[in-house]
């Protein structure tokens, strides 16, 4: 194999020879490909210096061909929504183990499309829509691409740079995401110390009981994130507003619970419409100090 990887003219011939030998030795095609992969990889790496092959055959350059992995027909498919802003564009997640890619023909992949796909397709996979992460110790391809079937927002596979790169924020040990907290932490002296969730919940419960008993709910506050809305904020919102019943509660970027633009709602104008249809039907949209294209890209385009 080490020899066959070096000459372009004879590569296919040699592979064919090897396959004939393998077949006569009773090796299945699948096992043969597996053996070739293992042997070939070792051979290639053995001849590698700085990651480029030291191969001198052929007139090719030293630039590697960009590729993406294609989800196989049995990939796990899950719907999701972009969690970066309140517009909530639709996306689809595809998961499959590394090494079990689908093919470029429609019948060979989970997207049901032939590659290359056409302009304005919702099925193209940008390299940044893909990631390889470990799931239960298994290297797994995770791809998050726009949902081409959405009926209200990001129709036809439109996507922002934020939603298009959702898979890039998955945890990996070897990039910036390794900074992510793995456990709750408690501030002891000058240090933050990792603790288990059970302990964290118990500590919060004990201190809350003490504060509520001694100072009342006025002394118990909650500052929480609010995007992704009701589904993901339900537990914290219910705890703060129903169970504890504190007025000291603030979502997102606000110091307290109030309008985005004080006074505007009182005058009959909603600063933050609850329905996309309102945006589409509006005769005049006034924005100040913000680029609508930058901050709510998809809504602007639609």
């Amino acid at each position: 194999m080490a020899n066959t990887s070096n000459t372009k003219g004879t590569l296919t011939d040699n592979l064919e020879d090897l396959w004939q030998h393998a077949k006569s030795a009773g090796i299945s095609r699948r096992n043969f490909l597996g053996l070739m992969a293992a042997g070939g990889t070792t051979a290639v790496i053995a001849t590698c210096g700085d990651g480029k092959s030291s191969d001198t055959a052929g007139d090719g350059s030293n630039v590697p061909v960009a590729q993406i992995a294609i989800p196989p027909t049995d990939a796990t498919i899950l719907p999701t929504a972009c969690d970066y802003c309140s517009v909530g564009c639709g996306y689809m997640i595809y998961k499959w183990p590394v090494g079990h890619d689908g093919g470029m023909k429609a019948a060979e992949n989970a997207l049901g499309v032939d590659f290359p796909v056409s302009t304005l397709s919702s099925k193209w996979i940008s390299p940044n829509m893909q990631n390889v992460v470990e799931i239960d110790g298994v290297p797994t391809n995770v791809m998050v691409i726009p949902d081409g079937d959405t009926k209200v927002v990001n129709k036809g596979g439109d996507h922002s740079v934020r939603g298009g790169t959702l898979s890039q924020k998955l945890y990996r040990k070897d990039n910036a995401t390794k900074d992510r907290l793995q456990h709750p932490q408690i501030h002891v002296g000058d240090e933050f110390i990792d603790i288990w969730w059970d302990d964290a919940v118990e500590i919060v419960a004990d201190i809350s009981t003490y504060v509520l008993d001694k100072y009342s709910e006025m002394a118990w506050g909650m500052k929480q994130y609010s995007y992704q809305y009701y589904e993901n904020t339900y537990a914290l919102t219910k705890l703060s507003r129903k169970s504890i019943a504190t007025p000291v509660w603030a979502p997102h970027d606000k110091p307290g619970e109030g309008s985005d633009t004080p006074g505007l709602s009182d005058s009959g104008i909603d600063a933050f419409s609850a329905a996309y249809q309102d945006w589409f039907d509006a005769d005049v949209i006034m924005v100040s100090g913000v680029s609508l294209y930058e901050s709510k890209t998809i809504l602007f385009n639609e």
Binding site: S5, L15, K52, S61, N62, V63, V161
Partner: protein
Amino acid sequence: MTTKTEASRREFLQKAGIAGALAVGIYAFPAGKQIVEAVAPGVQRVTRSYPKVKIARLSALEEGVPFDFLYPLLSHNNFAVKLGKAAVGGVGDDKDVVAFSYFCSHMGCPLNEQYKHKHSMMGPCPCHFSTFDLSKAGTLILGQATQSLPQIVLEVDGSDLLAVGVSGLVYGYADNVTGGTPVKPLGGE
């Protein structure tokens, strides 16, 4: 997403076993060189290199005027342009000759006629308004594309301008050299 590495890992062979990937690489592209890329710790991918193709005489390029060419497939529309200021990946005496794909890396709309010489900028794309800085490897200035505009890697051979590769994946493709007719390589049969 990928970074080149020389390190091999035994666990890769045990865990990943990219049988399919390697086999496809060999069968589909007998020509060119093999290159190994790391896609994650312990996970590698074998790919090939691009052909070298002559696209123009350097002297034929006029500052600020895009020159159209096809590479590495006849279905890939690209342009070369002399920016008039040094650029990342620029070649020629002033290091200001660069080349890029015409397909917007957001959703593939054609960027023809959108070059703005004053800002070395391609765009805004007529579909969703993405803009790209041609002096900085096609990086996104503003807009929706999730990767830079794919840059055609150039070399100069005497007075000839050669295309020798593509940095980035061209819109629509799963692989820049599969799914179309290759252009004729330099000195190719």
